[in-house]
């Protein structure tokens, strides 16, 4: 990189060059190819997960669903015969006596989020 810099001073509502501070100075600006020298953020890539075949912990790590909700969702999902739609799990939650009114609002929302998540598959 070649760098030049002027000192500007105010004059008649604008500025004028007072003196040149640096002229055509060569500045080395090498690119460091070592990835460990860079801050690349703390977020790790999301893994693809299966609702039926992966642990609730693994799914929780890779989604934004509370682990507790996933445990409930998985337990309902595993009781559904021929599971091939998320709506079957929602129906299972709504028809279950194991959940209170708040959970019956909350769990279908979590199921909907799982359905929309690109990295989550049913089986």
């Amino acid at each position: 990189m070649i760098l030049s810099a002027d000192l500007l001073i105010p004059k008649e509502g604008g500025y004028e060059v007072s003196k040149q501070l640096v002229k055509n100075k060569k500045v080395d600006n090498p690119v460091d190819n070592n990835l460990s020298k860079y801050e690349v953020g703390g977020n790790t890539a999301k893994e693809n997960v299966s609702l039926l075949n992966d642990s609730a912990e693994k799914i929780a790590k890779n989604t934004d669903i509370f682990l507790r909700d996933l445990v409930h969702i998985q337990s309902v999902a595993k009781q559904v015969s021929s599971l091939n739609r998320y709506e079957q799990i929602t129906e299972g939650v709504l028809n279950s006596d194991n959940f209170d009114a708040l959970q019956k609002r909350q769990l279908p929302l979590a199921i909907s989020k799982l359905q929309k998540a690109r990295n989550v598959k049913l089986n």
Binding site: K61, D64, F66, L67, Q106, L109
Partner: protein, 215 residues
């Protein structure tokens, strides 16, 4: 195990915000981690804080979580950012406060933020080797003061829900009788446009009913 009132209140807050998202009023995002499953921090701190309701919440739900929204038609945001327990108990000197602040307010050395909705505003507890405050305190960086909100954690979460976590709602509590304060004014004018069920008088009444000094 029965869910705590704090846990249920946060769920209700989230569901209310999802309803607003469904109505295309705002965009909602949530983030959370795994719950606390074992002793995650040094025992010294753990022994002091393991009985507080926050730890029960983190064991039941997640070790820190974020709920944030942004209005679609107007400029307005809201955020709840409960930090992971390891961050809460870390030393915040030279991060949130500095040596000179301790000369002005020695309590700040024991201040540990729990909810950090912005870079300048946080709310947390005072934790010393022998004491964990019942009340939640507000810190507005870079000011050295810690303001007592006169709410315990359960009351804080209730008020967060009442305020729909609208930005600076905690500052509104501190200025609840000063209707001309810019933050109170903006809150009162804006929040009903996004949340039509919001009622200022009910909000004030709720705060009064939850104040520790009124128990």
């Amino acid at each position: 195990m029965d869910r705590s009132i704090i846990d249920k209140t946060i769920s209700l807050l989230t569901l209310d915000l999802y309803d607003r998202e469904d109505e295309n009023i705002l965009e909602l995002n949530t983030y959370n981690s795994l719950p606390i499953m074992d002793t995650p921090i040094n025992l010294n701190y753990w022994n002091r804080i393991q009985d507080i309701s926050l730890v029960a919440l983190y064991k039941a739900t997640a070790n820190g979580f974020v709920i944030e929204w942004e209005a679609k038609q107007i400029t307005a945001t809201g955020k709840l950012n409960f930090l992971p327990i390891e961050q809460i108990v870390q030393n915040w000197k030279d991060r949130l406060y500095f040596e000179r602040d301790m000369e002005y307010n020695d309590l700040i050395a024991h201040y540990h933020p729990i909810d950090m909705p912005s870079e300048t505003i946080s709310c947390g507890m005072l934790i010393t080797p022998n004491f964990v405050s019942e009340s939640i305190y507000l810190h507005h960086a870079p000011e050295p003061e810690t303001f007592d909100l006169d709410l315990d954690l359960e009351g804080y979460v209730h008020m967060a829900k009442e305020a729909c976590i609208f930005s600076n709602w905690q500052m509104v509590l501190l200025n609840i009788t000063n209707l001309q304060h810019p933050i109170t004014k903006q809150f009162r004018e804006t929040i009903p446009t996004l949340f039509p069920d919001f009622n200022w008088d009910a909000f004030v009444e709720k705060y009064e009913s939850l104040k520790l000094s009124n128990q």
